[in-house]
């Protein structure tokens, strides 16, 4: 295994473990206000300091990581569950009206910058974590549809697919039994990329007030709160920011490492 893959896997696993741990234990109650103890610098009983309301930053980062991971993960699942079948269907009937409709529909969604789509959705339904998930989930659909279709198309020309067709298998069954397992590697790699992107998008949307709403902590919300206090207490901005960077870095390294490990041909070409 390559070093980036190990580093990426460790970072990602560490943050997922931290998020899961926050379900049962945090060093302090993240909702507990302690105004006299506000804006403490890291060290002492509060390992990473306290915020402007005296809440423990480490506990908030733990719960915030959980929120960010949950948002990115659900959006990822939406993209996978809708995008992959669409991509498989488009590839199975290449050039048909179905393929054309799916691909043109994808083009339309792609034309909306992610943030603009999120703004449109939240302008209508109001800002919330669920709407942030819907916006990013919608964005993920064409991404996975494209990746799946692109990878599936050359497979349909291969002999083992021809054999399956000669054996009388229906296109739908071939897609599920033969095409899907062969595009799985690519989907896993793309999933880590979209997951990392999801963490960043959640942070950005919550930062501008369109995502997770208070009092639920999220890494983006913590940065938004820190914006006006950054001169007084830089650690308020540094800690959640570094957390976002490490999660995204971990997932990206994991994705790159997996791509190389799962597809040695790609590794030779890219090296």
């Amino acid at each position: 295994m390559s070093r980036p893959l190990i580093l990426g896997a460790c970072l990602s696993a560490g943050f997922v473990a931290m998020a899961l741990l926050s379900l049962v234990w945090t060093p302090h109650d993240h909702t507990l206000l302690d105004i006299p103890g506000k804006l403490q610098t890291p060290g002492g009983t509060h390992l990473l300091g306290t915020d402007h309301l005296g809440r423990d930053i480490l506990s908030m980062v733990m719960v915030g990581t959980r929120t960010s991971i949950a948002v990115a993960l659900v959006a990822l699942v939406i993209g996978l569950c809708l995008g992959v079948p669409l991509g498989l269907a488009a590839a199975a009937r290449k050039g048909s009206w179905l393929d054309e409709t799916i691909m043109r529909g994808n083009d339309i969604i792609f034309a909306f910058p992610l943030l603009v789509m999120a703004i449109l959705i939240t302008a209508v339904f109001g800002p919330s974590a669920v709407n942030a998930i819907i916006a990013f989930g919608l964005f993920n659909i064409p991404v996975f549809a494209r990746v799946t279709r692109g990878a599936a198309l050359p497979l349909w020309e291969r002999e083992f697919i021809l054999a399956a067709r000669v054996a009388g298998k229906h296109a739908q069954r071939i897609s599920v039994e033969h095409i899907l397992p062969n595009v799985m590697n690519l989907l896993i790699v793309q999933s880590t990329i979209q997951f990392a992107l999801g963490i960043q998008v959640e942070a950005a949307l919550s930062f501008v007030g369109l995502g997770v709403q208070p009092p639920t902590p999220s890494l983006g919300r913590m940065l938004a709160d820190a914006q006006t206090l950054v001169t007084l207490a830089p650690h308020l901005a540094v800690v959640p920011g570094v957390a976002i960077i490490l999660i995204v870095l971990g997932l990206n390294l994991l994705g790159d490492g997996l791509r190389d490990a799962l597809d040695p041909r790609l590794r030779r070409r890219l090296a």
Binding site: R104, D107, I108, A111, F112, P113, L114, L115, V116, I119, L120, I121, T122, A123, V124, A196, Q200, A203, A204, F207, V208, G209, L223, A226, Q227, V230, T231, P234, A237, V238, G241, I244, I245, L246, V248, L249, N252, L253, L270
Partner: protein
């Protein structure tokens, strides 16, 4: 001939995309519960005043009629009238676009200025410490959220060293340099992730070209490694790089929405957020359409430029 057919085909799909996008935006905004007229006048409004305002805003027309009025208006440069400010949206947009587009362009220039030398450096030292250093830096560059980077830039360069203003925009009438100074930190923050991506594209495009036969021929003719890279490698590697540069402009344009929030810049992004909180949906609708139009148009132009450079693409569907 092939090029003309290609342009015609792409123009057709451009118009279709714009039509569908406008339909989607209009429909989504139409779902919004509540009547803008009663929102503006408050709960104590007289029914007659309400009806008059609804007529003035064109809200009494049918949905289909309103869609065509909106699209028709935009085609002639009339984006409607803001519910809250009672000023034409076109005027509001014209004021704000003078901040957003220069900011996106500034960031694009910075990203190219960073990425091209960095990519060239990494490719020419493939596998060595310098290459790995650049690759590591690009991993970090992609992982850092640009709004967080913006906050750190403010902390260091505006508050600690006082080299640049921490936010705000003086307006172009206050002089070119004052504006450039106000846009520098936002542009650096916006450029960072794009520069990281572009560096990687530049590096891999160069590496791909370096393996080509014509590069070996150039070396065999007696050119040095450096000469081959500059005279033949760079030019051929520029095709994928230019495509990405074109596409990046649309990312940067959309990215200004968040960065403007950090630096309190009066651009399109702030206009959208102000309009959302004031429920001034005609502004949201028109500005979103404008941004989507910008993105679709840029992608269209990139496609055409690409086809002009690489004739093989014209025949591809």
């Amino acid at each position: 001939m092939a090029m003309q057919r290609y342009i015609l085909k792409r123009t057709g799909s451009l118009i279709l995309s714009l039509l569908v996008a406008s339909l989607v935006i209009f429909t989504v905004i139409e779902i919004v519960p509540g009547d803008p007229a009663s929102f503006m006048l408050g709960i104590n409004a007289q029914p007659e005043t309400l009806a008059a305002l609804r007529a003035e805003l064109g809200l009494d027309a049918s949905k289909v009629g309103r869609y065509f009025a909106w699209v028709g208006g935009m085609l002639t440069g009339d984006f409607g009238t803001s519910y809250t400010y009672r000023t034409p949206v076109t005027e509001m947009v014209a004021d704000r676009i003078g901040v957003s587009i220069p900011l996106a362009l500034y960031a694009l220039v910075l990203s190219v200025l960073i990425a091209l030398p960095a990519g060239l450096y990494a490719a020419s030292r493939r596998g060595q410490a310098g290459d790995l250093g650049v690759l590591g830096a690009t991993q970090m560059g992609v992982a850092i959220p640009n709004f967080w980077f913006a906050m750190m830039l403010v902390l260091v360069f505006a508050i600690h060293w006082r080299w640049f203003p921490a936010g705000g925009f003086p307006g172009w009438e206050q002089g070119f340099w004052a504006c450039v100074q106000a846009l520098t930190l936002p542009a650096i923050a916006l450029a960072l992730p794009q520069a990281a991506i572009l560096t990687r594209v530049m590096r891999s495009a160069l590496l791909e070209v370096l393996g080509e036969d014509f590069m070996r021929t150039a070396r065999a003719k007696g050119l040095s490694a450096r000469q081959t890279l500059w005279r033949h490698g760079l030019r051929n590697a520029m095709i994928p790089v230019l495509t990405i540069v074109g596409l990046q402009f649309s990312f940067l344009f959309a990215g200004t929405i968040i960065i403007e929030q950090v630096f309190y810049l009066p651009g399109l992004g702030r206009l959208i957020f102000q309009s959302i909180s004031a429920r001034d949906l005609i502004v949201v609708e028109s500005v979103v359409m404008l941004i989507v139009f910008g993105v679709i148009l840029i992608n269209f132009l990139v496609d055409l430029a690409y086809a002009a450079v690489d004739p093989r693409l014209r025949n591809r569907t």
